[in-house]
Amino acid sequence: MSEAANLYGVVARFDSPESILKAAQQTRDAGYEVIEAYTPFYIEGLDENLGHAPTRLGWVVLLMGITGLLVGFFMQYWSNAVFYPLNIGGKPLNSWPNFVVITFECTVLFSAFTAGLFMLGRNGLPRPYHPIFNTPGFEDATRDKFFLCVEAKDENFELEKVKSFLSGLDAEAVSEVEY
């Protein structure tokens, strides 16, 4: 376990997507599990190399999309056929083809906002402070540098060992990061 109580983890800096992909794989092979990478853009395969499970976002969106579909349709059905029946041009009260457009729009509305807001929420945003921001030179994580963090929470975490391990992975710099 961690030596210092307020240690967040050890962070190594890399200068290319290729090197962080390799480093992530090696860190995981070395038995570390609570690890995370911070990159300026999405790097295909990095989540797999870090051992992250696939996201379940798609299922949540599907569920909310179906909800939107039902809400959209029954809102129209209930209000125009049950609550206040409207006879428009002699059409049947449940003239469902006329309800298709709004049903579709509600489906899209519900699923799109679920996709966007659920993604932000699960990522913990908005969150102004994060210990990783204490890493020296972290401004470059949104520019052209790639960071790999082994967190102190990891079961195998031993400060000196982690530091020397990360230094061995052609990292540009290795630093201890506190909360």
């Binding site: 990478a37 990159t39 999405y42 798609g58 006329n98 579709f104 729009e105 699923s111 949104t142 520019r143």
Partner: protein, 479 residues
């Protein structure tokens, strides 16, 4: 217009990203103009912004007069109850559609070149939808009760009439506007984080930090982000098709000659994309010059968007042909007369022939690569197309309504001063937002561009690029 990054003129290229760009240089090229101090804002920006703000003033005056005096200030009357407000509404919303198609459809079709222009095109979409959405609200007569269109529990015990296309419009446009803003904002979050980390003063740091929501770029966050982005693209694509189809159904569900056609939805969608790509060209060509973005928005982008303009333009022209054919083939006297009146009518026949010039003849030079590589020509053709698409809506709305069934109820339509001032004013709204956008927000999606750069370094086809370069240099075009 001078480049404010102060670099010498670039060698133009037909690659998606110029060869020498790195992750850091993409960042710098896009973000430098945004970070410049307010006093360093280039003169062209101030000129553009002040002109736009002036027109916005015209808009506000018009709205004030409209609210105090009522919609009698417009030329709308019987029989033409749908005049400029509907024409301009359809025109603006059509322009917006290209932005969504670039950001969503081209993403799904794996067209990497869309990355350079998707941010600006999405901004264009949102501003155009704002301009469009205000029209139906303002010409309701009592704009302050527009929310009556929405279903909500109320003391009247009433709900909207959901079988009416006008209520479909409300749902289509409000969904489209909100989903477009969401898609745009989600795309901006990582770029706000970049700007936050680049910020050199506290104000900028706070401003962009708040907007970035604390994005830190962790791999897990990126994983969810990419999934959400893909889902949003997959939802936006059918959404954009549905929006203009719904608008077409405002016409097609009516039983007036010239409106009651099944071809209306697809033909309206094609027209929207046509007008939209024209507007993309009109905005992107000066933007790339003014901000020195020639290495990121290259000839390739303008070339491709001109090709799309040509293709959708020809679909639209096919639509005109089918409309006329169906009018004849239907055997309905009123349809036949409407078609005759549209083409040869003494009152508005000029609009039809001008429309044919703008949307059929003026786009034909785009078959030539040399024309598509000439920014000035593409810019001029795009403006002509925008005029043409406005005329199309004018022809559809006005010609049909002036002479429909009984000659006794025929009438003419003349737009008033306030009709024109409102149209002009809506440009003020659009361009004020546009100038603020290019000054304050990154007009190119930098994180996506970096990803594209990374992707290309592994999967890009050098062979294809070399073949193309050789072919282009033989013809004397930039490679």
């Amino acid at each position: 217009m001078a480049s404010i990054s102060g670099k010498p003129p670039f060698k133009e290229t037909n690659r998606v990203i110029a060869k020498s760009e790195t992750y850091a240089s993409i960042d710098d090229t896009v973000n430098k103009p945004i970070e410049a101090a307010p006093t360093k804002t280039p003169l062209w920006w101030w000129i553009g912004f002040v002109m736009a703000a002036g027109l916005l003033g015209v808009y506000l005056v018009t709205i004030t007069v409209l609210i105090t005096r009522g919609i009698g200030i417009f030329g709308n009357n019987q029989p033409v109850a749908w005049g400029f407000p509907i024409i301009n509404f359809v025109w603006w919303i059509g322009i917006g559609h290209a932005g969504t198609l670039i950001s969503a459809a081209l993403l799904l079709f794996r067209q990497p070149w869309r990355t350079s222009i998707n941010r600006a095109a999405e901004a264009m979409t949102i501003f155009a939808v704002v301009c469009a959405g205000l029209y139906p609200i303002l010409h309701l007569g009592r704009p302050w009760v527009f929310y009556w269109l929405a279903p909500y529990p109320n003391t009247f015990g009433l709900f909207p009439q959901f079988r009416s296309p006008l209520d479909w419009d409300l749902f289509a446009i409000s969904t489209y506007a909100s989903v477009s803003i969401l898609f745009w904002y989600i795309g901006l979050v990582p770029d706000f984080a970049t700007l936050r980390d680049r910020a050199r003063n506290t104000f900028m740091q706070w401003f962009y930090a708040l907007l970035s929501l604390g994005w830190n770029g962790s791999a897990k966050a990126w994983q969810r982000y990419m999934r959400a982005y893909l889902i949003l693209a997959a939802l936006s694509f059918p959404l954009v098709l549905s929006v203009h189809s719904t608008i077409a159904m405002d016409f097609a569900v009516g039983q007036l000659p010239g409106w009651n056609n099944t071809i209306m939805p697809p033909y309206f969608v094609a027209g929207a994309v046509f007008a939209g790509f024209a507007m993309v060209n009109i905005l992107a060509i000066p933007l790339r010059k003014a901000f020195g973005l020639e290495k990121l928005i290259t000839y390739r982008h303008i070339d491709n968007s001109s090709k799309l303009m040509l293709a959708t333009g020809m679909i639209v022209v096919y639509g005109y042909a089918v409309e006329l054919f169906m009018a004849w083939y239907s055997g309905v006297e009123f349809e036949r007369y409407m078609a005759f009146n549209r083409v040869f009518g003494a009152d508005h026949g000029w609009a039809f022939w001008l429309l044919i010039f703008c949307n059929l003849i003026a786009i034909q030079p785009l078959w030539s690569k040399r024309v598509r590589q000439n920014m000035t020509l593409v810019f001029i053709i795009s403006i002509i197309v925008s005029v043409g698409m406005w005329l199309e809506r004018y022809v559809i709305v006005v010609v049909t309504l002036t002479k429909d069934f009984l000659p006794g109820s025929w009438g003419d339509y003349v737009a008033t001063f306030w009709d024109y001032s409102m149209y002009l004013g809506s440009f003020g709204l659009f361009f004020t937002l546009w100038f603020l956008f290019i000054r304050l927000l990154p007009s190119i999606a930098t994180s996506e561009m970096k990803e594209l750069q990374h992707h290309d370094s592994h999967h890009g086809s050098d062979y294809f690029e070399e073949q193309r370069a050789e072919e282009f240099s033989k013809k004397g075009l930039p490679v």
